[in-house]
Symmetry: C2
């Protein structure tokens, strides 16, 4: 190392560094309600905010300093107001949360996760509750508008909808609210999420219209109630069907498991193609590198389009969303 260094000339390092600290502050400021309060009132006082929420005053000031360092807020002593980047960061906060709260431990362990000798068993850790929290909001702007447009455009009624990888059941609840004559079935491998789903469904008065099944969608056995399913949905979980052979096999299997499913909506992020490294939009890089590290196959749109026919489905329509991670919704019909 050269000792003749001038720290003040390290401007790129400072920018990257402070951005990283700020990313954590964005996730925290969302969870603690500071972003919503700034969006609503246009101003807050650090110490009043800390007192009201019973937060440590010095650390709360630290959180706002980090946001101010990258232009999300402007700080005048303890007074905080939104700055130029506020609107943008407020809109994308869930994407940051996914990275720095939900996936931080995966990224932290990058040096050991990359070593082949370590890539067996449970070789990485993330925070599923934090990821569910972030994904609930991510879904509202990455999928929902296109999802409803796809559902409304089905041009057919459906008695039973089954959601593959339903998580805490938010999407299913929304479908049932919009379609009062419909019943729902949620399938997920995560028992913890299903407990939340059942509780939330009961709270929403939907207990008699929805059931939840703890199953791996790749291996689940048939059930009598599957015969009634007319619409299949699978959001933010479709890449788990891959790689290719397993995906084709499973798509065929869905045909057999759900003999009356006329439509199948698959909404998911896909691997980007041809975007230069220095033009990657928010989220895409984190999302793709995370899946690389986890050893999870992430198909491109073209990969997807190559499996539907072999899997026994016809692509009826493709909704290209391309919000932050090349999201797409495929609208399939039984061949």
């Amino acid at each position: 190392m050269n000792t003749a260094m001038d720290a003040r000339s390290w401007t790129t390092a400072a920018r990257l560094y402070n951005s990283t600290v700020a990313a954590w502050a964005i996730g925290a400021a969302w969870e603690l309600g500071a972003l919503d309060e700034l969006a609503e009132h246009g101003v807050l006082d650090t110490f009043e905010f800390a007192t009201r929420h019973d937060l440590d005053a010095a650390s709360t000031l630290g959180m706002f300093r980090a946001l101010a360092a990258v232009g999300v807020v402007r700080r005048d002593d303890t007074k905080i107001v939104p700055a130029d980047a506020f609107a943008e960061i407020h809109q994308t906060r869930s994407l940051f949360h996914w990275l720095v709260r939900g996936s931080a431990e995966l990224f932290r362990q990058m040096p050991s996760v990359l070593r082949n000798e370590n890539r067996a068993g449970e070789f990485y850790r993330r925070d599923p509750a934090a990821i569910a929290f972030a994904c609930k909001e991510i879904s509202t702007f990455c999928y929902d508008p296109w999802f409803w447009s796809a559902v409304d455009g089905l041009g057919t009624d459906f008695g039973v909808v089954l959601d593959l990888g339903c998580g805490s059941g938010e999407r299913l609840r929304q479908v049932l609210h919009r379609h009062p004559g419909t019943r729902g079935i949620g399938v997920d491998i995560a028992g913890e999420a299903l407990k939340v789903a059942e509780k939330d469904a009961a709270t929403a008065g939907l207990a008699d219209r929805v059931t939840f099944v703890e199953e791996d969608m790749l291996s689940m056995a048939t059930r009598p109630e599957f015969a009634d399913v007319e619409l299949l949905t699978c959001f933010m979980a479709g890449h788990d069907l891959w790689p290719r052979e397993q995906c084709v096999r499973t798509l065929r299997r869905f045909r057999d498991l759900f003999p009356n499913a006329r439509r199948f909506l698959i909404g998911d992020a896909t691997r980007s193609v041809g975007i230069p490294d220095d033009e990657l939009p928010v989220f895409m890089l984190g999302f793709e590198v995370a899946h690389d590290m986890m050893g999870a196959f992430m198909p491109t749109v073209e990969d997807w389009e190559s499996v539907f026919a072999d899997g026994g489905w016809r692509l009826r329509r493709k909704h290209t969303i391309d919000m932050v991670a090349s999201e797409v919704i495929f609208e399939l019909e039984r061949r």
Copy 2:
């Protein structure tokens, strides 16, 4: 949330986001030897590098994509060459490592760490081994040149040097190498670090010239060998003496514990004063917010200067380093 959003216009969010992913990649690329290899050879091939180090190829490419996204390297398919920011990031890699490998869990838990109800017991977690790894390199450019200048300028020989908060004993070993007639004592509260220190001292052939004592410097009892100590050093640990009253008391106590210590070198980061949020250099923000979250007092230079006389020491000279976290070395003499 507004659904009429245009992801491609989220340029600030993309920059912050990709910077955060890149920060993790910097820490990993250092540990895995990629930064050194690029610095030495000016080029590497991703897959050849991955094969040679037995790394997962896709994840390794992901790591380099992250570095390319922020201009640290340039990527042409799998070929990687240093880009504009490389030299700067190579020099500051240990500061990133401290943040994203050593302190990530503290920052990840910002929302819960800020809540007063949680701030008791062991309310945060960091990775001490990772922090020690980073600090060893941080010390080489933040303190070493000024440390040796201070030691050389003492204008006096010293038979025994005692290092407070010695960690793995690196500094002590260097002093003994440079001063063959000197013996050393290392004091640290971390037994694990002292085991490493003893092993490393033995490897360096210094076993008969140095002893290590597992003690809390705030409460340690006197020992016969303390009477021989002529030079006291305390690096990157002095802020643990604070707050003020405890610091004054402990400085006085050091006078009693080490009755023949003529000189005392305290080198530490201090809290910055008057630097606007958007001009914070690399490291400072992360360092200060981390200490705020941990509830650790971080004195300013002025705070320090206010305790020496009351503590029984005279400030002989101040070495202002100001590299990344307002580092300073105070050279004290017994009053």
